[in-house]
Amino acid sequence: MSRFEPRRFLLGLAAPVLALLVAVLVTSLILVITGDPVADVWSQMLKAPKPGQATDMINNAVVLYFSAIAVAIGFRMNLFNIGVDGQYRVAAFAAAAVGGQALLPGPLNIVLILLVAMATGALWAGIAAWLKVTRGVSEVISTIMLNSIATGVVAWLLAKVAAEQSAGSNDIGTKRLPDSSHLDGFVLLAGTQKKVYGLIVLAVVVGFLYWFVINRTRFGYDLRATGRSESAAVASGVNVKRMVLSSMLLSGAVAGMVGLPLLLGENYNYGTDFQAGLGFSGIAIALIGRNNAIGIALGALLWSYLDKQAVTLPIATDVDDSIVKIIQGVMVLAVVIAYEVVRRLGKRIEQQQVTRELAAQDRQPVAEGASA
């Protein structure tokens, strides 16, 4: 986009670093006030994860990455898709239900699963989009409602299509995917047998496509233009209603992928134990990553790292793991504040620079001409 400028780059880097420091500071303060062992907590939090744990972190980050990208697509044009959570649950359920039927052989079934998940996620998001463009319902409200509705609908359908409950189990779920539809992934880190999800590849592809579509295509230009100024976008010929629809559908389609790494690489069915709540972390990570494909990847890793370190925290230090939630929350807030401060600073610097350079230009050509 704009020319590389070291100062601006440093400014951009300053924000997340600053935010992290603030988060550490605030958390330490809370620990001190409540009398918990500060040093122990940080030494535990900063302990290098073992390869097995690191693999888990990567896996978790992959899932969060899809979620955050889904949110970010909306964010780029000022749409707040709070409904990724419902979208991915509905999508994962539908994909699991269809995939479990093994309608297609081998890898084709995986493709089918992927398509069903994307279509269902898009459909669920599409309801909110449709309500927005035709009825003017704020997507913030409608997606929140749709999350709750998704819960009921999936529970109802699950009760209808649930496969035989396996003996002695308290989970119910859809029929297990055939073995040929499993994507168990591959070992990435030495020192562990744990595999990273095969769909990490899809995450990379989606991340690249996200960057490419947003920054390099006409569609992406229209999307960003709408986000920057809806009125200017309309005047430039962007059909904002259509953009709302298509970006919401895209966001929903990506949201539909959130559950797939779990479905294909971990659970192999959609059951009552399927992980929920991934959509909300996605919002936070999109904010931390500033809607940037790489930023989101780093944000997802950081988030996942904190999540995982939290698990061992109470075992190692007797400090409640909710302290990590505080770290995460403060970090999000500090990050957005820091970005805002840096953005203003950058704007002021640019303005000064413009006037300074213009003044310099004015001085060179002697011709008085029109006033500047």
Binding site: A155, L262, T272, D307, I315
Partner: protein, 332 residues
């Protein structure tokens, strides 16, 4: 995986710490110690083991919406910290126990509420409870005690496990009074587990049942049960609630204890204690173990003496269940 050199069988000892006390790692379900329900019951078993067997323990609890890998890591971390007798509370741990047990063959595991292949292993005791049997008896008790021929059930979250409670309750009540009217309400649907922690919803649901004519309401709603008790209190004289998991006439808020007709006791504490004891004395046996009516794993509390008068009618049912002549269904 763990590179501990724990001696097999006998008194499992912590890594590098030499002999001494057995080190028990507890992984609670969401809510953890202090939930006055399921987890607390498990904690009671642990506390007993601590005082009677002299074990030391480390406790840790699950969070809502956490990843499968988080549960695995929780168990593994306990193992890594030298806790080589692990109790996983709740069926959510099924898969993680299966995996972590495989990776740590020297560590002894117990899982509560799961007996599936997921958690099966040579070093895993799968502990389940016949909740439907206990529920059958409180259902029968409710049917015997009702004056309106109308009773209710409030489930926290609609899951197969809670449906087991409902199924037993319905069957027991119908057995005694085939014409009885029974209302069932679930507070939330998965993955929204707030139904176990929302007394306001519990009260609204139970209020509805009382006002529709029910005079006894059984809850299997964890923390939301407090709302059910409050509803019974608000409904006035001759309205009762039935507690769950522990003898709630002893543990609930004192102001509502007198309204608790009975409780369906699920002795998770017994399961936990027995498991720890078996590891301690070397009698650990892997495999399924169901705690049922016959071995006191589930039962009916009599605190308050409100059901003493129908004891003679409940006892035969109990016998029939134990003898197997009554088979209690597990789905409603």
């Amino acid at each position: 995986g763990s590179d501990s050199d724990t001696g097999s069988g006998g008194s499992g000892t912590g890594t590098g710490k030499g002999g001494g006390a057995l080190k028990v790692g507890m992984a609670y379900d969401v809510g953890g110690r202090g939930d006055q329900s399921f987890n607390d019951s498990a904690a009671k078993g642990l506390d007993k083991a601590k005082s009677e067997l002299g074990v030391s323990a480390k406790e840790s609890e699950a969070n809502t919406g956490e990843a499968e890998s988080a549960r695995e890591q929780r168990l593994q971390s306990l193992v890594d910290s030298g806790y080589t007798t692990i109790v996983a509370i709740g069926f959510a741990y099924a898969k993680s126990v299966g995996k972590v047990a495989k990776a740590n063959p020297d560590v002894k595991f117990a899982i509560i509420d799961d007996a599936s292949d997921d958690s099966k292993g040579d070093n895993v005791e799968q502990i389940t409870f016949a909740e439907q049997e206990g529920s059958y008896l409180v259902g029968a008790a409710a049917a015997l005690k009702t004056k309106t021929n109308h009773i209710g059930f409030v489930g926290g979250v609609q899951t197969p496990l809670i449906k087991k409670f409902e199924a037993g309750y319905l069957a027991g009540a119908k057995k005694v009074k085939p014409s009885i009217k029974i209302d069932s309400t679930y507070l939330t649907q998965l993955p929204d587990v707030s139904g176990f922690a929302d007394p306001a919803k519990g009260k609204t649901a139970a209020d509805g049942q009382f006002q529709a004519g029910a005079d006894i309401v059984y809850h299997a709603a964890g923390g939301s049960g407090a709302g059910v008790f409050n509803a019974a209190k608000a409904a006035g004289a001759n309205h009762w609630a039935i507690g769950v998991d522990s003898d709630q006439a002893l543990t609930a808020d004192p102001s509502v204890r007198s309204l608790i007709l009975t409780s369906m006791v699920k002795n998770v504490n017994v399961g936990v204690y027995d498991f720890i004891k078996s590891v301690k004395d070397g009698s650990f046996k892997a495999g399924k173990r169901e705690f049922a009516l016959k071995d006191g794993g589930v039962g009916v509390a009599t605190t308050g003496g409100h059901i003493d008068d129908i004891k003679t009618k409940l006892d035969p049912l109990r016998e029939q269940i134990i003898s197997g002549s009554i088979k209690v269904p597990t789905t409603p």
